[in-house]
Subunit: 214 residues, 2 copies
Amino acid sequence: MTTQLSPTERSTVRRGAHRASTDRADLHATLDAGLICHLAMVVDGSPRVLPTGYGRLDDTLYLHGSSGARSLREADEVCASVTVVDGVVYSRSMMHHSMNYRSAVIHGRARHVTDPGERWEALRVITEHLAPGSWDHARQPNKKELAATAVIALDLAEASVKIRTGGPGDDAEDIEANEAWAGVLPLHRTWGDPVPAADLVSDLPVPEHVLRRG
Amino acid sequence: MTTQLSPTERSTVRRGAHRASTDRADLHATLDAGLICHLAMVVDGSPRVLPTGYGRLDDTLYLHGSSGARSLREADEVCASVTVVDGVVYSRSMMHHSMNYRSAVIHGRARHVTDPGERWEALRVITEHLAPGSWDHARQPNKKELAATAVIALDLAEASVKIRTGGPGDDAEDIEANEAWAGVLPLHRTWGDPVPAADLVSDLPVPEHVLRRG
């Protein structure tokens, strides 16, 4: 796979094309910065979208779920979206209000992962994406848990990424009129203080990978 | 519309049904807490999902976009998802790792709003959702801008809401083994310091609705 994104017709960004990036590194960085994805599929002819965790390994996105979940079991053609909102853009005019964001959209066919080695690796990257450091700290999956888990893979071949940064793009008349403030209010994801489980049987210290999560 | 959600077959929560709420107030609160929604539709037989702003007025969700955007112009049957992640749940076992979240999913047919009064009101609630206080502070839309804007409405009739709160749900053996820390790392949305636009022609003060945004 090249470092350049080679979009197909449907993964070519049309609206706001100047915000489209063709750099695969931007796609990876956006996927790595998000926490959840929104996975869309067609069920009984109707669109359906659900939020779910994920993990990335090179150019594959992995998702997992209960092997009993119809949505995942029947997933065929899917579209996954990962969006990170970085701020609200306040403009002099209402119509130029916007957001700063990083948005990745991936089209593809879900591949149901059956190889035990790949399934194990997929669960590791999904865990490490949700909770970095947990794979080695927590108890890893046993046979029964593995049997109850479905894993799907989505190739990052047909993907697009759109990034907006910077200030408002107001019309010249509005800038000159100077009747409203304009700027950006940055939005951050911040972690609060860890809350130990009520049923911890002893005073286990909060591990570093939780305490120092970035 | 009653205060109880009356889900149809497809809006009945199956996986993790104990997390489903049937309270309309929870649906409204979740929609009001989110910043963006992920809108799914079927385009040329394939699923497509895109992130977009929105606003809520009573039991209607409003979305807007360029009247030239094919996706919005042709939107018919859609599914919208609003997800707020409140924390990461660290469990003793990898398979019980989870998130605390509020998730609203709405199914319905997009209604293309043509009535000028409703369009105006929709733009107001979309603006106020993105940037509370901006509708009265910034310049409101002019005729040309209105003509370039498509507004769609989605009835909140067929909707579901799922909420997870609290600590991990580990297996008894893992709790007893006491070999891994367990608890919740809360996730917060925090606003940074406002960044005035580089092209502000005078030192307009940052307005209260930006400075004090909650």
